[in-house]
């Protein structure tokens, strides 16, 4: 049970990092919403 949960958590973390830091065009998708330029320290840029 611990192993399954751990694998799921790690996969979710990998997906989160990929979603935020791999350019959307690499997986042929256009991202909706924020996150396209990663996460800085409070920059409130209007996302293009």
């Amino acid at each position: 049970m611990q192993t399954v949960l751990t694998i799921l958590i790690v996969l979710a973390a990998v997906a989160y990092v990929a979603w935020n830091y791999v350019p959307a065009s690499w997986y042929g998708a256009k991202k909706g919403g924020g996150g396209s330029c990663g996460d800085c320290h409070g920059c409130d840029t209007v996302k293009e």
């Binding site: 990998v14 330029c37 209007v46």
Partner: protein, 614 residues
């Protein structure tokens, strides 16, 4: 052929005004937003949008525009303002809310007159009315309304109910109007507008016989060519002294809390992978970063108080001369100052720089300013270098910040050789004021939330990935090596050692630098995870600093500090440089020169320190 617009009640309004007249504070008050405000010009460089509810319950869209001294735009941010209110960008607003600093109408009336000439429905908001009385000014609002031919309302944008008059006005129907017409002003029109502003000012404003504003007296010391720099150095030193001495006390409690949490998980959970992830990965890694929250908040408390007081633009003015020696103008100061929080808003703020060469040089040196993400790394290593010595720690921290600034000036000088800045710094110096406690509290709360949000999202995700890499065994496991050395992370770290061993970095440091490209603080959490896995699980809360203090040589500690000053910043900085310069070449130029500078400086530091401490 133009068509008349016959909107009865405004549904889209734009806040327009000179820099530092309080537009963003008014925007926040009207919409409940928490956009950044400060007591100096150039904070807003993009348009912001929010929604307000009028007294009658209607929804109105509010646009907060960058400050502009004139609609004859000189810089990129002023051009944004003109394009929005002339309908060249976005939908045309139905009402212009022209915000003017009531204590400085002599200057602000000119923009009011330029905006009025557009022909859109308009209301003038006299902001900072609370200070009018204090300064002994008398404003005849009826005379202003009569001369300007538009309604005039008062406001105090830093008070909870300071925009009541404006909110009531928004429920009044507007007269029909035609789309605005805009053409660049000639010298004659500019002169005529200036004369008209002066005439209206004389009619409507009565100034006191004696100036009640103490700013000029204070400036005699603060802006003194010698004492001014001494005061600036004292302010910086006091800030970092507070960061180390007060921060150290507070983060001891956080360390204890994480140690207790790790013990709790170990007591109540059977041994297994998930327990390892929780204790060594999440508590060991995240705890190592959260522990620096007090230091970050203390630093920002000082920065916010200095911003709010009106000191920072004076510092910009003082630094104009040294910056001009490097070929930059004082206009670069605010973008560079913003970069101390994060390079991204700093790079965006370069839009206020009208000279393209100055702007590019400022963009390329902005990452050399020590962003707040570096604070945990600096603090951790400095604390390991000088345990229990806050004075030496504060001086080292000032030194690291100064090193970044001096090298930035040197790089700017190289970039601008033969092309010295021709633009002069014209900056409006705001009056001094006591920092508003409510604004400080909101600013600190925002800062804490930004940090904790980062910790709870990207830093947490990367720490979990790092833990997994340290846990998954490498297919090329070697007999006799430790479990960590035989992990995937160990394998990657070993490969990176070919590059980083000459500058004194061990495998743990080398691999921590990779996720550090996404968020600098992950360097600390990745080291926290690695040492938690290597060490005793009982000491997860407090062992990172001790392991670094005893396990790394002084030369390695110094080399990593120097690396953190110069190394290319996070990926987000690369992306924003690409976007703002519209050039891949400039982006790679920045990354390349920063990497070369970091490697060379760390190499020299490591070998010199090794030789001196041998």
């Amino acid at each position: 052929m133009t068509e008349a617009i016959t909107a009865i009640l405004p549904e889209r309004i734009a806040l327009l005004g000179n820099p530092n007249c309080g537009k963003t504070a008014l925007f926040n008050l009207l919409t409940g937003s928490r956009q950044k405000v400060a007591n100096y010009a150039g904070v807003t460089v993009e348009r912001k949008e929010g929604t307000l509810h009028t007294a009658e319950g209607r929804h109105v869209t509010v646009l907060d525009l960058p400050g502009a001294y004139s609609l004859n735009a000189l810089s990129g941010d002023e051009a944004v303002t003109r394009e929005v209110i002339t309908g060249q960008r976005d939908t045309l607003p139905e009402l212009l809310v022209c915000v003017a600093d009531a204590t400085n109408l002599r200057l602000h009336l000119r923009l009011v007159l330029e905006a009025r000439a557009l022909g859109l429905p308009m209301v003038v908001v006299l902001n900072k009315m609370d200070r009018v009385k204090k300064l002994g000014l008398t404003i005849d609002r009826a005379a202003l309304e009569r001369e300007l031919g538009v309604p005039v309302v008062g406001a105090v944008s830093v008070q909870a109910h300071g925009a009541r008059e404006l909110q009531a006005f928004l429920d009044r129907p507007l007269a029909p109007h035609r789309p605005p017409t805009w053409k660049n002003a000639t010298a004659e029109t500019v002169r005529a507008t200036q004369y008209e502003a002066h005439r209206i000012f004389k009619l409507a404003v009565q100034e006191p016989a004696v100036d009640a504003d103490p700013s000029a007296k204070i400036d005699r010391a603060i802006m003194h060519p010698v004492w001014g720099f001494v005061i600036l150095a004292i302010v910086l030193f006091a800030t970092f002294m507070a960061v180390f001495s007060l921060g150290d006390v507070l983060n001891g409690y956080i360390e204890d809390a994480f140690g207790w949490l790790a013990g709790l998980v170990e007591t109540h959970m059977a041994d297994g992978l998930l327990r390892g992830l929780l204790v060594e990965g999440i508590i060991g890694g995240i705890g190592g970063v959260i522990v620096f929250l007090p230091q970050i908040l203390i630093l920002f408390l000082f920065i916010l108080a200095l911003e709010d007081s009106g000191y920072l633009p004076r510092a910009a003015f003082l630094l104009d001369q040294p910056m001009s020696k490097a070929g930059l103008s004082g206009r670069s100061f605010i973008p560079l100052l913003s970069s101390f929080a994060c390079a991204i808003p700093g790079i965006m703020a370069t839009r206020t720089i009208s000279d393209p060469r100055d702007r590019l040089a400022t963009i390329l040196i902005a990452p050399l300013m020590a962003c707040s993400a570096r604070i945990p790394v600096y603090t951790l290593i400095i604390a390991a270098l000088f345990p229990g010595e806050p004075l030496a720690a504060a001086l080292t921290m000032v030194g690291l910040y100064a090193l970044g600034v001096v090298c930035a000036m040197a790089v700017a000088w190289v970039m601008k050789r033969g092309h010295r800045s021709r633009s002069t710094l014209l900056m409006e110096l705001p009056s001094y004021q006591w920092p508003d406690l409510r604004s400080l509290a909101i600013g600190l709360w925002e800062r804490a939330m930004i940090f904790l949000r980062r910790v709870g999202t990207i830093i947490l995700a990367l720490t979990i990935v790092m833990w997994a890499l340290y846990t998954i065994p490498s297919p090329r496991a070697q007999t006799g090596a430790s479990e960590l050395e035989n992990s995937l992370a160990g394998e990657i770290g070993h490969a990176l050692q070919h590059v980083f061993a000459p500058i004194g970095f061990n495998a743990h440091i080398s691999i921590a630098l990779v996720p550090g490209m996404a968020a600098r603080e992950v360097v600390v959490s990745a080291l926290g995870t690695a040492y938690a896995m290597e060490g005793d699980e009982d000491q997860v809360g407090a062992q990172l600093e001790a392991r670094i203090a005893t396990g790394w040589s002084t030369a390695t500690k110094l080399s990593l500090l120097i690396w953190m000053v110069f190394a290319p910043q996070c990926l987000s900085t690369f992306i924003i440089v690409r976007r703002e310069t519209n050039s891949w070449k400039q982006m790679w130029l920045m990354g390349g020169y920063l990497f070369a500078l970091a490697y060379l400086a760390s190499l020299i530091t490591y070998h010199m320190a090794s030789w001196l401490t041998a």
